[in-house]
């Protein structure tokens, strides 16, 4: 599933891979550098992952899911992922 960098990542069938890495990272208050260190990649690669310009290998996807505490299915999808709901204001 590795794609050429700079092109939208697609599967062998030409499908786009969507992810919610950015939202999950921000929810946990992790900086891009901290997150990059935790999953063992360069900080620029985190940007590529978050923008959906690079689809990670299975190993990296599993590492990301472990660091963010979510399942791979919750993080990556072949269908567009719904935007996370904004936090509720206390009434």
């Amino acid at each position: 599933m590795l794609s050429f960098v700079g092109r939208k990542p697609k599967t062998a069938d030409g499908e786009q891979v969507y992810n919610r890495i950015l939202a999950a990272r921000e929810e946990r208050g992790l900086s891009r550098q901290d997150f990059a260190d935790a999953i063992g990649v360069h900080y620029q690669t985190v940007g590529y992952l978050e923008r959906g310009e690079y689809s990670p290998s299975l190993v990296l996807a599993l590492r990301i899911s472990r660091v963010l505490g979510l399942t791979v299915e919750a993080l990556f999808s072949l269908d567009p992922l719904p935007r996370p709901e904004p936090p509720q204001r206390p009434s």
Binding site: H42, T45, P56
Partner: protein, 173 residues
């Protein structure tokens, strides 16, 4: 551990340390903008193309002088792409490895295309020559006119392709 293993281990550690520094370096970010990268790509192509002209048209002194602008363009371009094309597997993450490998395919195609065009241009020039038979002069200037541009192309092609792709990618948004 044998002496050679120790040397190899020390070498690996030094490469890893330098690579870490180069990959995190931000002091050359002014050369990493799309505009600066485009200018470096153009500068490298122009200075490489100028080398055979300098060697053949103006002689050894101009030829030697033509190496330095090309070397400067090559080094700046290499710094601008963080030497990613030249770093070993151990210090790159999977995206960078994939990018580097893909860049080498592009670099091979570029070198093959340039050599193909140059050789065919030489054949055509010889075939359509008006005055008698063409002769190949095997002297210092002629050999240098082939050697230096070819060396520049072989060493610079991976960084050139990487820089070009980064420009295209950033222009695409």
């Amino acid at each position: 551990m044998s002496r050679w293993s120790q040397i190899a281990e020390r070498n690996r550690a030094t490469v890893a340390q330098n690579a870490e520094r180069v990959l995190a370096d931000t002091s050359y970010d002014r050369f990493r903008t799309p505009r600066a990268l485009s200018m470096l790509v153009v500068a490298f192509v122009v200075t490489t193309a100028m080398m055979p002209i300098c060697w053949l048209a103006w002689g050894s002194l101009a030829g030697v002088a033509s190496i330095f602008p090309c070397l400067a363009a090559f080094l700046l371009m290499r710094v601008a792409v963080r030497s990613q094309a030249d770093l070993p597997d151990e210090v790159l993450d999977e995206r960078m490895r994939a990018e580097r490998d893909s860049v080498y395919v592009g670099a091979f195609r570029l070198v093959a295309a340039v050599v193909f065009v140059a050789v065919n241009a030489a054949f055509i020039a010889v075939a359509f020559r008006d005055e008698g038979e063409a002769t190949i002069t095997f002297d210092y200037d002629s050999v240098s006119a082939v050697f230096w541009p070819l060396l520049a192309l072989l060493l610079g092609a991976p960084s050139l392709v990487l820089a070009f792709r980064q420009v295209r990618e950033r222009a695409a948004g």
